[in-house]
Symmetry: C2
Subunit: 395 residues, 2 copies
């Protein structure tokens, strides 16, 4: 079977990491890369030293369109800043390509519905690059759920708890430094939005566990925010020598912690957190609780009624090993060899993407799933603004 | 100084445990005990073997009134079933006694306001026996908070996550067994209520940390419930040989997991869980997150910006030791010797109660605090029923 002719849009930190993994999977040929960086040529030459160098497109933000026109492409992978995803995805679909897009929250309620429309119109697929779905523990827990080990699922927790102040604020206390990096485009949302900006890592596995969009549906969202700006102001003050007067000119809309309660048709509930401006170790806060047991990822522990010692957590390891997913049974050693930075999940994700495009596997999430996860962003903002529950959209 | 003449109402499991601790503290003289049990005489004789036997009152549910009339009592301790607390507390206050009451949720919105009225009317105090406030870790964390180590508090979590199915359902799957035990009176609430039945253990320390009723106030509550009865039905089926038809006659109103979001005037937020009918190890789910650090009790771990290694949890122990509260500095060894079952917190609580009554310490919670914690029960029910946020009462 012929390799997948692959083009990349966005060769920043994330795009380059994906390229290094794609090079290790003999299903993909990277034929072109687009990015506005003036250094793109050197970047790509270094990445492809000793290999066939892909064509590069870096003459401005529209040069990716020329790339789409000039080449025969099977798959476009998009890892650009958030506000460019929609246009680039739609252009790629119109050019007859499948698309794999990096995950993020929806910037408005129409973003993913419009992409769904184009995908159906052009009969091309869009694959969400949600790497958490490919974690060894997540896939094993999913197997356990389908084997009935946890009973019926009742209550799930997840979140994005990751202190981003090292991206948002520089070491002398300046907010949103204008250096062309992620700091520049990501920070502005903290001044203009209050909601869950980045829901997918915390939510996507929980939706897979619950069968959301298959056997159950999210029916409502209710979101809450702590007082805006407390963490950012405190961080700026710490880094600029406690000159509080200077920093009060910065007003923020984003609360440090946003809680979203998602209720499903079947009566299950997801509590989701967005927590990115307070100092803390990282966590995706996963917990899965059913009528027969519970998994808590923070504790790396499982409790199963009748199997575990009464009221005692067990280490998750033996269960994760016992219920290991076939993806990990097949590809674990190469995943860990090439993708130590993300514990193999990015490698497994791209491997499954390639297998799916060649018809040997089902990719475990659809564009409609992506639309569901991402909808938490705009609908959480509406819920916080209105102070009420909001009906959740179906896609 | 003369010892505190103490009378007990309720000599069940909890009341007897309190008696054994009071006997170890040379500030209290237990002069009378009231309970409806026909075996009260033997129970008390055993508990007080070799000591002065208190008078006993067990001629029916009103016999405690005779006890209040016939004796000169400084302090009445109430550890009876929930529905008796209000009447007994008010009678004790009217008799001129101080009262210490076991904690629980309010059975209706008037319960504690009425008690507050009587307490003020009679100029007698009511002390909530909330033992979590006296835990070594809780008191040390409180010291750290007041020393500014966590910065300004932003987001707190707590809960009562304790599988009570061994109380609510017997080993052959019968619900609410009629044997005069806790099963009988506690189980009925699961058929008639949907809300956080038992909020105080999860909430009281968080209110102390935030200065609720002193420098901040809870302004609203919004509560959510998973589908009622899933855990109870599954448990009954497991224990009765999976005869699902028999158990469907039992309808429950209580959701397995009730989430309450409490927002404060200052913009802080508490996420509180009630989770008592799914199999799991116990947890009070404490987490305290501020602008400078976070404590997670489930992980027994702390992270402080600038002190902890970047993004790495530290074991809490050294902090708990460094910020040990004076209660624990003074009484730790006797607390652990006499109260191993509750890691010393019940002993410390009763010791501080005695010291407070003799004017040497301030008890760290008031009747108004108890009213605040307990109000979560009726107001969570109203919020779930109405599907909206509800303004939270001040006392």
């Amino acid at each position: 079977m012929k390799n997948i002719r692959t083009a990349i849009i966005g060769a920043g930190y994330r795009g380059r990491y994906l390229i290094t993994l794609l090079q290790k999977i003999n299903l993909f040929d990277i034929i072109a890369v687009s990015d506005i960086s003036p250094n793109l040529s050197e970047i790509i030459s270094q990445l492809f030293a000793g290999e066939k160098i892909p064509k590069i497109y870096n003459s401005g933000t529209d040069d990716y369109r020329r790339m789409l026109n000039e080449n025969t492409i099977d798959l476009v992978i998009i890892a650009s800043p958030w506000h460019l995803h929609k246009e680039q995805t739609i252009e790629a679909l119109k050019s007859g390509c499948h698309v794999a897009i990096e995950v993020k929250g929806a910037l408005d309620i129409d973003e993913y519905p419009d992409i769904i429309h184009e995908s159906r119109q052009n009969k091309k697929q869009v694959f969400p690059l949600e790497n958490t779905l490919f974690r060894n523990d997540i896939l094993a827990i999913n197997n356990m759920i389908h084997a009935g080990i946890f009973g019926r699922l009742v209550f799930l927790q997840g979140g994005y708890r990751h202190d981003l102040t090292h991206i948002l604020i520089d070491q002398t206390g300046n907010f949103g430094v204008q250096n062309g990096s992620e700091s520049e485009w990501r920070s502005k949302y903290y001044k203009t939005e209050n909601g869950d900006l980045y829901p997918t890592h915390g939510l996507a596995p929980l939706c897979m566990f619950l069968g959301i969009n298959h056997t159950d549906y999210i029916k409502s969202i209710t979101s809450f925010s702590t007082k805006p700006g407390l963490g950012l102001h405190a961080c700026m003050a710490k880094r600029n020598g406690m000159k509080y007067t200077d920093i009060q000119q910065h007003t923020f809309r984003m609360g440090d912690v946003v809680t979203s309660i998602l209720q499903t048709d079947s009566g299950a509930q997801i509590n989701l957190l967005h927590d990115t401006t307070l100092p803390r170790p990282r966590s995706l806060n996963y917990e899965v609780q059913g009528t027969n047991g519970i998994w808590n990822a923070e504790k790396n522990a499982i409790y199963i009624d009748g199997l575990s010692p009464f009221e005692e957590w067990e280490p998750e390891d033996k269960y994760i090993e016992q219920y290991k997913h076939r993806f990990w049974q097949q590809w674990e050693s190469e995943a860990l060899r090439y993708d130590g930075h993300h514990q193999g999940m990015d490698y497994i994700m791209l491997r499954v993407l390639g297998e799916a495009l060649q018809g040997r596997e089902n990719y475990p999430a659809t564009l409609e799933d992506m639309a569901t996860w991402a909808a938490v962003s705009p609908y959480s903002k509406i819920s916080i603004q209105k102070g009420t529950s909001i009906p959740f959209p179906h896609f």
